[in-house]
């Protein structure tokens, strides 16, 4: 496990040199907004910003909002000629992600890996991606990663982890083979002292203690098993607009729709984000809709993340980043829902 100490300017120069060899995505200001987003770096003038977490998760780097699966041309003899999208040339680096977002990609891996039916499009990108995380020193008040088996300093899902020692220096740690390969190319930096290594555990403890909310979710699956017909789904959902903002901004939400678009010359098949909060999501060809009511859709969302994922994959399908709470126009709060559920005893 390579461990190095670098300065802030060395960090920025490492980012710049990596961005020449890789398609590097790091938090930067977009053209029109005042908020950071994980975008592909193109300038030579980058400084890693100070931030808690980005409003939008990096999931669209590996799971784009709109993705062309293939396109086709109509040939004069009535046949079609299929064209697959261009092969990705460079490898990708997603730089500076927090542990919650790194964990969300692990959840994506679990979901998209369906054995024989693994998602070719996701893994094509993901297998050429290296994750370099930045440990989280200052969680938001809405964060609850520790309640869902996460941690602000967790290494899960990362190839390299960088820790801000809060004194203008950073500790880089190589975690996987992919990560070590990159670190072997970096010549700057020095060995960490024991003091510096000890500081890491101090910072990790302080960061964890900043997360005020700690809901006991150890038996959330069992609790939910008994609450399917509960009236909490009616009362908790009245304020929901069904807008789907929570699903779009969630780093673990992965539902999609596949559509074909064509004209006289040819067409393309695209995959687009969809949301279980839209009534059309479950509308069947017959016209029947098993989730016709808002409360059924909201119930499904909670069950998917806190019950079905546990049944199917033995892990919680939420990373506790709290983005859904800030995105909700009605100020809906999943933490309140979870507290309601955990406080309910018995089947009512």
């Amino acid at each position: 496990m390579t461990k190095k100490i670098i300065s802030k300017s060395e960090l920025n120069s490492i980012i710049m040199s990596l961005s020449k060899e890789y398609d590097l995505y790091a938090p930067a200001l977009g053209k029109t907004e005042n908020s950071l987003k994980y975008i592909e770096l193109s300038s030579d003038n980058y400084e890693f910003p100070e931030f808690q977490n980005t409003r939008i998760p990096p999931k669209d780097i590996l799971f784009p909002r709109t993705e062309e699966l293939f396109s086709y041309k109509n040939l004069p003899d009535g046949n079609i000629e299929i064209e697959e999208p261009q092969e990705e040339k460079k490898e990708k680096i997603i730089f500076g992600i927090r542990s919650c977002d790194a964990r969300s990609f692990k959840l994506f891996d679990i979901f998209f890996d369906a054995g024989k039916y693994s998602d070719y499009y996701y893994f094509k990108k993901r297998n050429r991606t290296i994750f370099i995380g930045m440990a989280c020193n200052q969680p938001f008040t809405t964060c609850f990663c520790t309640s869902v088996k996460g941690d602000p300093f967790s290494k899960e899902g990362l190839d390299i982890q960088i820790i801000d020692l809060l004194n203008e220096t950073y500790l880089i740690i190589g975690i996987t083979e992919k990560g070590e390969k990159i670190l072997s190319k970096i010549t700057i930096g020095r060995e960490p002292s024991q003091e510096e290594l000890n500081k890491v555990s101090e910072l990790a403890e302080e960061s964890k203690n900043r997360i005020k909310l700690n809901i006991e979710l150890g038996d959330i699956k069992e609790k939910l098993d008994n609450l399917y017909e509960s009236d909490i789904w009616e009362s908790d959902t009245q304020k929901c607009l069904g807008c789907g903002s929570c699903t779009f901004i969630c780093p673990t939400c992965h539902c999609f729709d596949v559509q074909d678009q064509s004209n006289a010359e040819g067409g393309k098949r695209i995959r687009i984000w969809d949301s279980c909060q839209f009534p059309m999501f479950t509308k069947e060809g017959s016209g029947h809709n098993p989730r016709n009511f808002k409360k059924q859709r909201m119930r499904q969302r909670i069950y998917h993340k806190f019950n079905f994922y546990l049944s199917n994959y033995d892990c919680i399908g939420c990373v506790g980043c709290g983005r859904c709470i800030r995105a909700c126009p009605s100020c809906g709060d999943v933490r309140q829902t979870l507290e309601l559920i955990t406080q309910k005893v018995g089947g009512n």
Partner: protein, 339 residues
Amino acid sequence: MTMTAQSMTIIEQKMRETAKSLLLEKKVDMIIGYKVGTLPLRITPHFIKNQDNVSELVWNEYCDLNLVNFIPKPMLKKEDGTKEKIGLILKNSDIKSLVVLINENQVKRENIIIIAMPDMNFIDRKKIEHELGDKEIIEAEISEDEIKVTGYNFEKTFKKADLKFNMGGVKGDEKPTIYDYIIENPNPSPVDHEKYETEEFKELFEFEKKTPEEKWEYFKSELSKCTRCYACRNACPLCYCKLCFVDSNQPQWFSKETDVSENMLFHIIRGIHLAGRCVGCEACTRACPEGVNLQLINKKLRKSVKDRWNFEAGINIEEPNPLGNYKLNDPQEFIIEED
């Protein structure tokens, strides 16, 4: 109009008393109002059936959601077969959208009890969010003229005057067209009507000075932020179609991908569907998670309808929308020689 903290407390108190008596006297089965949200400067809709819960209702300058949107459609029936009566705590701009709903036969007037709240300068939280970027507000201190927000490693003070937005083109001292109970400001300050008129469409006048190329660039950049989450449509009380044109797939009118031209189509068509109906409550702009400046399109259409047919939505409960009706003296300069 500005309102002192003292007046707001009195108003909040009167609102709670009115809500309590309505529930006690069984004049309503449920009250829909606002409750404090779990985040600073946020409120959340509150649905109460028991008079003991009225103390949870709040009234403040960030009550920006349009509660008309939460009227159950269809109205729930009670055990005796009659429909539930709902009491709503509404701002003047919200009442205007209710007027349009009643006009369009989506809601029956007799099933709604309106508690009309006085107007004041509401805070546009999108302006604060835009200034702060990703920074989180941990605490907000509201004083007479300012809001001070603090978070991790920052502190910022905003002047309320820079944050206000004029919902629904409401003048500030008008009585709403319909209401059952009205809570009035105990200390109203005089309102400059002319100033309101110019303020309401000021953004539009400034925008219209741009060249077509500049306007196009602006809309391209704004609408490329759109993720087609449809929060705007869902937050709008007047978007109630059972099957929205954008969800139609036999035929599919246009693509669901987030291509900027498809996004433009969605917003322009939704705007046209709202022309003559939109009251300017800005629920759409508040709901948008990406901060797209949606209300600009609707504002332009509101002005166009006003200029052309001298019609403002949400004022007259009987008068039909000019785009859904015709009058013999409608302007027709496009086809005949007019004076």
